[in-house]
Assembly symmetry: C2
Homo-oligomer: 171 residues x 2
Amino acid sequence: MNKGDTFRPEEDRPGAEAAPESDGAVSLYELEESLGFLLRISQVRAYERFYAAFDEIELRPGEFSVMWVILRNPGVRHGLLAETLGIKPAQMTKMIRRLEVQDRIRRVIPDDDRRSVRLYLTAGGKAFVREHRDAFFGHDDYHNHGLSEAECRQLAHLLRRYSGVGRRTDN
Amino acid sequence: MNKGDTFRPEEDRPGAEAAPESDGAVSLYELEESLGFLLRISQVRAYERFYAAFDEIELRPGEFSVMWVILRNPGVRHGLLAETLGIKPAQMTKMIRRLEVQDRIRRVIPDDDRRSVRLYLTAGGKAFVREHRDAFFGHDDYHNHGLSEAECRQLAHLLRRYSGVGRRTDN
DNA sequence: ACGAAAATCTTTACTTGGAAACAATTTAAA
DNA sequence: TTTAAATTGTTTCCAAGTAAAGATTTTCGT
């Protein structure tokens, strides 16, 4: 596939910017095929939808995921949690502290390895997850993208493959 | 705001399938179906691949996209460019200034509307885009995700639909 | 057993991103 | 016209993210 054939700079002569003078809509051309670009734009949209859905309560995008994983993997280590969710350790420390101050999680330093930190949800944390679980996973927050149920599953499948998430259990 | 006053021992029914003490790998369960989560993880991977591919030259993810769109839409306005690429105006101002200092783009304030700023690539900017175009759009930077050509196109298609990219704004 | 190296998390200092206020210009209204 | 409102981009200031160094604790080699 030769891509050079479509490469035609609109404005070539020096000092001649009289050409098309882009005004109305902007053309992206090959950018609309770039996975990196599309992933970024899509994530910006996802964040907008998240904040629109969880406007009333004080919740940031990563916090629910962290609480969810701790609920499902009680006693998970700080570092393993960070690695799994693609959050940098330093950032995870801040988030964990915030959740601890809100009395949603509990930090436990085990005796068999006092370097590590094991994480648990408090009763309040469990209640919080239970309360907002449907809003987070359900279709309430994701019903504005115009994709069908089957397309959503297809997209999720491709994203799992692209990112390598869930290597063990995924097909 | 304590709703459950009954104290229970540590293991308060963590979940149907979850082990009491998570040690090895972490299970994500429903999180592996969440488009928001998968989009974030995928974008983290895409950034890692971008930085790995453009390690030697000084280039940030958004900069090439901005130069590309200016090349294809010479004279595009600052604000329209920001809106199209999902970049906040304040951030765009910084990026534009950096690219201007590097002598890759040129800012022109037109006489017919002296509030706006029209953007053009310099000769050096055009050369830069021409030089790295294939590395950016080609498969060099995206050949580690394990998706086939057809799957890439399918993923791009779904992401365009999800994000609404390329949809004409009629206002 | 002892000291070096590795593992694990935290802290610090710096960079990047964003919301809101600001400045300049153009359009609309009175 | 003259003033108010909207448009467009910039600046300021604060929050969020990250890399590098630090502090403990454990492991490993000798």
